[in-house]
């Protein structure tokens, strides 16, 4: 039929076979006659498209009034007028359904002009097929495709933004494929390492590693790749100038919706300064620890020394002295008592030196000299010491004078050492003149003791006399000179009491040692003495 139509021959209505064929064809076919396009033959498939409208004898305008203004009538007129066929593809038409409501349907169709025997157009054959489902499906597909495209574009934009940020970050960074092959390094990486993309791609990064540590790094990286777990390790990377700096490197996998790794993102953070500070701190801590250990060793040694002096050395000396004194008690014979007296006095001198060494050592250990604070009268104490120093002396040279309140809370044995040392020195070095001890207790919080002798001190003596183990010219003149610790210990005792000692010496006025003591030992000193006991 199509061939017949295409040849432009009007099928003869008399040809019943042709009519039957048109009527039973699976495609929508109809034949319009005349310039007003009156239906002549309409098959059932065509009638399905129009909802049964298009009865033979009706014009198209009458049968399908809704197509007015949709351009189809104009197309039919043009085909009829020009004799040019028209092929429409997927053109939409608004057609009224059975209920009168318009629906949009899409058609592929041909308007084929038909001619009479003289060749003039006398009708139009329409061949049409509805493609609405196909068009709609394609529209949905197209929309979906468009949406996907939009998403992809957005993802690409986001990816490029991400890469831009990644590129600009101060750390070194890179992306690797799931198999660990590195595809992208950021600017920081190239600036730091001074390398090119060609040198770095894939596994080229190994060239900027410390070759000794590289096997460890590679092993850890391969394990992460195999197990899909994040990587974290600190190792050095070579800078463009050859200097290695330490980096903390973290590599995290990125997953897709199905949990598959799509790439690895690695970031190397420079921790060199931090690490250096940590090392310095550790080294400082270590040297501090060493110093403390050293100090503790010194204290332990000093304590051991105190033990040896105080017990091991003093015990046999005690045995010598006690034995010698026992002999003195038993004998009246001068041939025996004189040499034994020398044993006694030498032993006593040695015992005093041991006491001084003990005091010196204790003064150097943490707590200082131990004190036992007791209510004490300083004037009475001075008088007792003066008597002991000049026992049996025919013409005593020491005078003791006191004014005000001489009472305080001090360690009387230690103060006795102070008075004995100062008055003893004055007797020995005072040029044989008088020695005055004057106590001034007129102030409320302080009691002072001044020990005055007539001779002046040399500059040299004044400069060094409080130093321990001093060996000045003056001390060598002294009979039975000791260790040079007397004044040092005196000063220690006074300062441990919270007091002070100073010297005033001039050729005209002689020499005065002035000791000032607070009436009570400061609380910390008392605590110290408690601890020591």
């Amino acid at each position: 039929v199509q061939a017949e139509i295409a040849r432009g021959a009007s099928p003869s209505p008399e040809n019943a076979d042709l009519r039957a064929f048109i009527m039973g064809a699976p495609a929508a076919l109809c034949i319009l006659r005349g310039p007003e396009h009156r239906f002549e033959i309409v098959n059932s498939t065509y009638l399905q498209l129009t909802g049964g409208r298009g009865t033979a004898g009706m014009t198209v305008r009458e049968a399908l009034p809704e197509i007015e203004g949709q351009g189809f009538l104009e197309l039919l007129d043009r085909v009829y007028a020009t004799g040019e066929p028209f092929h429409g593809r997927e053109l939409p038409a608004q057609l009224a359904g059975a209920d009168g409501a318009l629906r949009t349907a899409y058609f592929n169709f041909t308007y084929q002009p038909m001619r009479d025997a003289s060749g003039a157009v006398d009708g139009i054959a329409i061949y049409a097929s509805e493609v609405t489902e196909f068009v709609e499906a394609r529209q949905i597909l197209s929309t979906t495709l468009q949406r996907e495209q939009d998403l992809r574009t957005a993802a690409e934009e986001s990816e490029s933004k991400f890469k831009a940020l990644f590129d600009a970050m101060p750390q070194l960074g890179w992306f690797a494929r799931p198999d660990g092959y590195i595809e992208f390094y950021n600017r920081g990486w190239y600036e730091y390492t001074g390398t090119t993309p060609a040198q770095m791609e894939g596994w080229g990064w190994r060239n900027v590693h410390d070759q000794e540590l590289l096997p460890t790094v590679e092993a850890r990286w391969r394990r992460s790749i195999e197990t899909g777990t994040a990587f974290e390790l600190t190792f050095p990377l070579r800078r463009h100038d050859g200097v290695f700096r330490w980096f903390l490197t973290r590599v995290n996998p990125q997953h897709d919706d199905q949990g598959r790794i799509i790439r690895w993102v690695g970031i190397n953070t420079d921790v060199d300064d931090q690490r250096r500070s940590e090392e310095q701190l550790a080294s400082l801590l270590q040297s501090e620890q060493q110093a403390r250990t050293e100090a503790e060793r010194t204290v332990r040694f000093s304590e051991l020394f105190v033990g040896i002096l105080g017990h091991d050395l003093r015990n046999p000396l005690s045995a010598i002295l006690t034995g010698a004194r026992l002999l003195l008690r038993r004998s009246e014979d001068e041939r025996i008592t004189k040499p034994i007296s020398r044993i006694v006095s030498s032993s006593e001198r040695m015992a005093r030196m041991i006491d001084q060494l003990l005091d010196f050592t204790r003064s150097r250990i943490g707590g200082g000299l131990p004190l036992t604070p007791t209510p004490t009268h300083l004037a009475a104490l001075c008088r007792r010491i003066a008597e002991e120093l000049e026992e049996g002396v025919p013409a005593p040279r020491i005078t003791v004078a006191a004014k005000g309140d001489d009472a305080g809370t001090w360690d009387p044995d230690r103060l006795a050492q102070v008075v004995s040392n100062l008055a003893g020195n004055a007797l020995q070095h005072g040029g044989g003149g008088p020695v005055a001890l004057s106590i001034d207790g007129t102030a409320p919080a302080i009691v002072s003791l001044t020990v005055t002798s007539v001779s002046a001190l040399t500059e040299e003596t004044r400069a060094t006399m409080f130093d321990p183990f001093r060996r000045g010219a003056a001390s060598t003149q002294v009979h039975g000179s000791g260790l040079g610790l007397g004044l040092y210990i005196t000063e220690q005792i006074v300062t441990t009491h919270g007091g002070s000692i100073r010297v005033d010496s001039s050729p005209g006025r002689g020499t005065s040692f002035i000791v000032e003591l607070p009436r009570a030992i400061a609380a910390t000193s008392e605590d110290t003495s408690e601890d020591q006991q």
Partner: protein
């Protein structure tokens, strides 16, 4: 009247024993704290001369046991030590080297007070 001398240093201990024998006392001598406790329980002296640093029970421990024992707490004790700062508080202390005159004098007074 009996004096108990407790000292691990043989020279000091024997010299003190001789001193008190010279003075007419009976004298027991213990080489350490443990032996001192045996003598104390066997027959209380009128005074104990007690060293502090000794093996087998220190003088500090002996002093403590005596103070907590009703039969011994009244016996006077003279602590004879090279380190008086270690002496138990409240005790009578005499530093080493021993001043014999003071020691003899002190023991005489303590024993006569006890008698």
């Amino acid at each position: 009247m009996k004096v108990l001398v407790v000292d691990d240093d043989a020279d000091i201990r024997e010299t003190l024993v001789e001193v008190f024998l010279d003075e007419g006392y009976q004298v027991d001598a213990a080489v350490d704290g443990a032996q001192a406790m045996v003598f104390l329980r066997a027959g209380p002296p009128c005074v104990v001369i007690l060293d502090l640093l000794m093996p087998n029970m220190s003088g500090t421990e002996v002093y403590g046991l005596m103070q907590s024992d009703a039969a011994l707490c009244r016996i006077p004790v003279v602590i004879s030590t090279s380190d008086p700062t270690r002496a138990p508080s409240g005790s009578t202390v005499m530093g080493k080297p021993v001043d014999l005159e003071r020691m003899v004098d002190l023991v005489r007074r303590l024993c006569s007070a006890a008698a």
